[in-house]
Symmetry: C2
Subunit: 273 residues, 2 copies
């Protein structure tokens, strides 16, 4: 998917919501556990109930790998279901991969070719040659971790390196990499003011913002500091939507929570565009 196509979808749906499909078998409605593939059954029901309210889905690979082969089968079924039924929706493999050159190419093949995701999250620690293999894929997007929403972000990311916080150094440096136009960035919303600084460095890029809701960010502030002329924001919510209820009404509850966020987003889009 191209960035223009993503922007087009956001305008049509009046939504820049990304729904995180982080399926924990201890948290889904018990009646689904009788299904042959409970993870996929849960995802399919959530997707059917919410696809008109969001522009992206983001399965976190950890939740699938924890269930071994069955988990990977569920991940494969989920991405295939999305690509067949909702090709206009942007898909994110939240995998936080990264390795030396030829090995990163193998990861890129796994997520862009074997599973056919539109994008994958990548960790920056190993530098340029660990990220560029992902950037080489046409119309695929590499979402680089910059500032994450967890407490541990303070251990290294916000420490100063050459008079600049490490996460800003990552942003600056990544702009010099080959095919950097295919980069997006993970930026936590725990302090929305950070977004103003970040927009100084990467005014045009899309930001994937976790941490609105469960992790404690505020949508209004995120838009105030983070939105650009091309919108430039995908806001993720996982648990707040998919676990809104763990009873028979879980799909309606998820849709209702997604609708709440979509309506706030429609207001923000009206205000900013």
């Amino acid at each position: 998917m191209t960035t223009d196509q993503l922007i087009h979808q956001i305008k049509i749906k009046k939504s820049f919501l990304c729904i995180g499909l982080d399926v924990d078998l201890n948290k889904i409605p018990v009646h689904l556990l009788k299904e042959e593939d409970p993870i996929f059954a849960f995802n399919k029901t959530i997707i059917d109930a919410t696809h008109h309210l969001c522009v992206a889905y983001k399965p976190n690979t950890a939740f699938y790998e924890a269930y071994g082969i069955k988990g990977w089968q569920a991940l494969e079924k989920t991405i295939n279901y999305l690509n067949e039924n909702h090709p206009d929706i942007f898909t994110i493999a939240d995998a936080k991969r990264g390795d030396i050159g030829n090995t990163s190419t193998m990861y890129a093949k796994a997520f862009f070719e074997d599973l056919e995701f539109d994008s994958v999250t990548v960790a920056p620690y190993m530098g340029k040659d660990s990220v560029e293999p992902f950037l080489a894929f046409e119309n695929k997007h590499t979402i680089l971790l910059a500032l994450t929403s967890n407490q541990g972000a303070l251990d290294f990311q916000t420490k100063k390196i050459e008079n600049q916080e490490l996460y800003k150094k990552v942003l600056e440096t990544s702009k010099t990499w080959k095919n950097s136009k295919n980069l997006m960035y993970v930026v936590g919303a725990t302090k929305a003011e950070y977004l103003a600084d970040i927009r100084q460095i990467i005014p045009d890029s899309f930001l994937l913002v976790p941490g609105v809701g469960a992790q404690g960010g505020n949508l209004n502030d995120v838009c105030k500091y983070g939105m650009n002329n091309y919108i430039g924001l995908l806001i993720n919510s996982s648990r707040g939507i998919i676990y809104a209820s763990n009873d028979n009404d879980f799909a309606e509850a998820a849709a209702s929570k997604a609708k709440e966020l979509q309506e706030q987003m429609a207001l923000e889009l009206n205000r900013h565009l």
Copy 2:
């Protein structure tokens, strides 16, 4: 496996060799492609030919994920084969994972419980709460990326943060984390002199050293600067061993390359212990 058991194995085998099982179907002997599971067939043959010469095997997950479900099945068969036939061998899932707390727990379950590896490699960028969930597992080891052997290591890892290179900051900080005794570290051997500094910070920890051979390090220097009283080194070789030949004699060729390294390691052990 405990660290003491690993050290015991090193002394018995006079080897601290780790063999990287990075299987690329374009590089293995073509006759294996007729097998039902060529990746596992290759691994099994390599393991059968080399297990007496090494103390660890390290499949890099990228090479398995690139082949989708079949790749994961091959990875599962490989770790099961190792655990059933060679329980004394240390196993490393080279996965370079890391995510926020509850998500890292899912990754730890994937590699320590579902696949039953002894250890997993983890990226430090997201800090303390992304690594501690791995450290919580008894007799399992978390091998933290510190200084990698690729060119991109110079982008961030060797840059100064609070008057100290980032990789040293990672080493220092990680020592304060809960259950840090379960930490080992990835340290590239591109400049063996770095190891002297590293040993100042973490004198007792095991180091997993890639980059001897294909990536250009020197075994003698690595041992001079990196070996401690508990040996403290696992030296990895992947392509140099497993692709020593791509003909019918590939297993013998791999064993011969492994034997060469093992004999050098026996000399180093005699010299240092």
